[in-house]
Amino acid sequence: MENIIHCEKLKSAEDAIKWIRHGDHVLVGGFGLCGTPFTLIDTIAESDHARELTIISNNLGEAGKGLGKLLISKHIKKAIGSYFTSNRDAVKAWKSGELEIELIPQGTLAEAIRAGGAGIAAFYTKTAVGTQLAEGKEERVFNGERYLLQRGIRANVALIKALKADTMGNLIYSKTARNFNPMMATAADLVIVEVDEIVEVGTFAPEEIVTPHNYVDIVVLNDRYEKVGGEYVERHRK
């Protein structure tokens, strides 16, 4: 650690999550547990200042893992995503009326977040026409085909996970851990990214950078999880 890297956006996870307010809408990156900001989620789960959150994420992690922890700690009022059956706690919480769920097809969800980040209020898609998920949605015919209206999605805060940030906040992602993270970085008032490593500006070639630095407000270092056998596992805490 002889080279101390100076990153103005770097904050502790505890300080970063203070920006989340009670009742906020929060975008959280990840597909299952892949590309999940574990350190940020665990820090929220241990804190008490922001509850009643609406979480917008493809899943709610798994039982007791990732966003699954936030469900157990009773921070989530509502979940918006495409697939919740893989977390049995989410199914239970929904049955008991503790959790609201809004189901959106995965592609519609991804595009709604992209639109939200791109200043597009709404768009039309063929996905889900004629199904139960079309109920209450405006339908319109273009070129003889039926389409559904979907509004863009934005949130107060986005919690995303990247592999590395440079000191300006440019981001690169690891393999399929990219998933929803880059769109989410564009669609919230405040974007907090968790990374495994911070490197000097210039380390990434411009064409390698997936999320440019201007989307990123706060950088948090993952200091709670390490990769063992290809999987992120919690470190023993002091």
């Binding site: 597909f31 299952g32 547990l33 892949c34 590309g35 493809n58 495409s82 697939y83 919740f84 059956t85 893989s86 989410a90 199914v91 929904w94 049955k95 769920i101 189901l103 959106i104 097809p105 995965q106 592609g107 519609t108 991804a110 595009e111 977040i113 992209r114 898609t125 063929k126 996905t127 889900a128 026409v129 004629g130 199904t131 139960q132 998920l133 039926r146 992602y173 690891s174 393999k175 399929t176 851990a177 990219r178 998933n179 929803f180 993270n181 880059p182 769109m183 997936v210 056998g229 290809g230 999987e231 992120y232």
Partner: protein, 227 residues
Amino acid sequence: MLNVTGNKSAAARIRIAKRIAQELQEGTVVNLGVGIPTLIQNYLKPDSKVYLQSENGLLGIGPTPPPEEIDMDLISASKHPITFGEGASIFSSSDSFVMIRGGHIDVAVMGALQVSQTGEIANWAVPGQDILGVGGAMDLVANAKKIIIAISHVAKDQSPKIVKELTYPTSGIRQAEMIVTEKAVFRIENGQLRLDELSSDTTLEEIQKLTEAEFIVSEKLKTMAVD
């Protein structure tokens, strides 16, 4: 006894996977759904030049890694560890659904709870059960260029899965082009279900008994050619 049924069902799944593998043309981009479709990869020839897309943001799924090479940053949409195939690329979820919704997937192979005689698909929800997951099913149904349904001919309770009209919630108004079971291959053209192939261990009478949907029999009815 359980074992016998288990083996029988595994053999049935493999037969379906092998038959569909024959259907995938060189140079095509294919999305394989959860269940039987994921088996298809095992029966593609190494030089098949079929490029598998995964909706979590990858084109070019390679074989399952040995345990020591597993990296859970590299997973399929079924959340299983995978590797990069030839010419693989990574993209975000929204770009992945540009590929799916923009009609850039040549073939989507998916399982189903039911398929109707016009090819309408029910593959995301069971009536009376909680509806808490849809994933990318509806996006693929609505937008893939060709849909092949991979299903066992009948459900576990022996009820037909190829039905006149869906009693399970529909996945969309778009209809499948082909249905492959362990007993038969059907194609759907102009809203008409047609039996094209029969497995060597069944008869037309049995298919008629186990299929609720109305279908015509192809003049060129063949035996399903899988080992």
